[in-house]
Amino acid sequence: METTKINYKNIFYPPGGILLWIIIFLELITFGVALIAMVFSAKEDPILFHESRLHLNVTFGTINTVLLLTSGFFMAASVHELKGQRKEKAKKYLLATMLFGVLFLVLKSIEYNAKLDAGLIMGSNTFFTYYWMLTLFHVIHVIVGLVILTSVYFGLKKKNSTTKIEDVEASAAFWHMCDLIWLLLFPVIYLLF
């Protein structure tokens, strides 16, 4: 695997690369604006938002946060091992990263299924329109992240791997972005109203 020393103090080389960080900020702004819109909508009908919020499973939300953060922890560990040229360990941590990501999706599917069974669909009310739009948009990011990580894993697995540390760092930054977005979604949607 090719490794080069990157000077992160250079404004043009944040960890993960400047292009990825532009995307991260665009995503954070998009989700941030949508969440703020949700909070302002709640001001117009606080009782509806409070009663709707009570239909959400805070335990599921908390476990999902634990799963995503644990996944992020293994991702950070994987990048660290790769930088230290310990490829086998890095691959194991990358697999753990993906496993916890998949577990997040499994639990989310169970949660979605319970909502659909209860008839709480996107058109039920304003709260659930925000709930479905924001969480589904986040789930799409997690799925895209898993596809990227799978591609990185198989890239690293090759005997004459051409995967660069910059590629792995960029993938890691995308994966951590899913954590950051969830850390904003979870308190606002599941806890505040």
């Binding site: 634990v66 992020g72 979870f186």
Partner: protein
């Protein structure tokens, strides 16, 4: 895996469980506490897992600035 990664993960777990427990309370301080805990977790992931602490000051200001504006608006609107 570094000691710092492990410490960060443990703190994130404690903050996550605390958020869930605090949200069950009906006290007036619940909203600022939940937002503050979310902000700490956000900073923990950005600086320790994404290695933003190694980045140029510009990126650090940008990420903290974003967080302050977001949390500030949500808090004032609640």
């Amino acid at each position: 895996m570094t000691k710092q990664h492990i410490i960060t993960w443990v703190i994130l777990m404690i903050l996550t469980v605390t958020s869930g427990l605090v949200s069950q309370s009906v006290a007036a301080f619940v909203v600022p506490v939940i937002l503050l805990l979310a902000a700490f977790k956000f900073i923990g992931v950005a600086f320790n897992f994404m290695e933003m602490k190694k980045a140029n000051l510009f990126w650090k200001i940008l990420i903290v600035g974003y967080l302050v504006v977001f949390i500030g608006i949500v808090y004032l609107a609640m």
